[in-house]
């Protein structure tokens, strides 16, 4: 088994929980960085994660008990969706062990890039996942980054830092409570 793929699998198996800072870069059609966002990522296996976007604006994405809450502070809106298949292969879901990666993805080792990370490419076996592929970058045995290509071939890259493996995380972190006065829509 190629080293990086087995390292990815052992990382996914060994991280019951995780916290990290992240920087997200989205690239435009011509590949130039279009927008950066920053925040904190929390994960607790199985099936729980939280993205706290802090800059340039406040958004929260929380997954728990088969649902995903998406909150935007400026829009004063919370949208609650079922964690169905099309959303199911979101990258974060991938990290929470809810998905058996080999059952859902074809794995290909991409080699080391100038950022020093070993990247593994995961191509969804299910067509409608809304993604062409997901790349996961490893720093040695540690999660380092993720790259998503949407259906138009536009890239979003996420770099993780200050990673804490298996911290004790309070469950309340994944019980989303809508702030007062915001619209909540569940369907």
């Amino acid at each position: 088994d190629d080293a990086p793929i087995s390292r990815l699998k052992s990382f996914l198996a060994s991280s019951a929980s995780l916290t990290a800072d992240f920087k997200q870069i989205s690239f435009d059609k011509s590949g130039r960085p279009a927008q950066n966002s920053f925040g904190k990522f929390y994960l607790s296996r199985p099936g729980k994660f939280r993205w706290n976007y802090q800059k340039p604006f406040v958004q929260e994405i929380v997954s728990n008990a088969g649902k995903v809450w998406f909150y935007d502070a400026d829009l004063e809106q919370v949208t609650v969706k079922q964690l169905d298949d099309s959303l199911g292969s979101t990258p974060a879901l991938l990290l929470t062990g809810e998905v058996d990666i080999e059952e859902k993805f074809i794995l290909q080792e991409q080699g080391k890039e100038d950022d020093g990370m070993n990247w593994v490419k995961l191509s969804p076996k299910n067509e409608e996942s809304g993604f062409k592929y997901i790349l996961i970058g490893l720093n040695g045995n540690q999660l380092g980054g993720m790259e998503l290509s949407d259906n138009f071939g536009q890239l979003t890259r996420i770099y993780f830092s200050n990673i804490l493996l298996n911290p004790k995380l309070d469950d309340a972190l994944f019980n989303f409570k809508a702030p007062k006065g915001v619209d909540v829509f569940e369907n």
Partner: protein
Amino acid sequence: CSLLSEKPVEAYRLQDMQVLQQQRQWYFEGRLALADERDSISASVSWRHRLDRDDIELAGPLAQGKLMISVAADIVAVDNGDTRKEFRGPVEEVLAEQLGVTMPVNALKYWVLGLPDPEQSFVEQADGFLQSGWRVGFREMQHINAVVLPRKINAEKGKTKIKLVVDQWDLS
């Protein structure tokens, strides 16, 4: 001195927006929430308007489920990256079917500039106007160079609610 506090420049005033009537093309990036009793969408949005054509891009969190919509006359094209479908017919109806929620594009392209749709009557209100059954309210304005433009827009009609936050304007 006047007891009425001077309206902050950030408050919406219809006459401030008239200058934008001649605005032939514009572009903005922001976030859009569309909800009615059937479904709701919360997405990042970019919208490029040219004289006779509107190109709108909607994407969910982590750029998922991106849709590119283009509207020219009564031809609406919806592209999800895999397949591009073209429809002929009233834009609002086509989009209600394709998006699952109401999006009055032909009026919205004026509302985003703080203007009522010139082809419909309207009744002016303190922070916006009433038009074709919609209550359009401008909750926050912003300065882009010397021009005052909306930043937070709400539009409600019965159970349907649209909320838009414009993060970046480009009037060039």
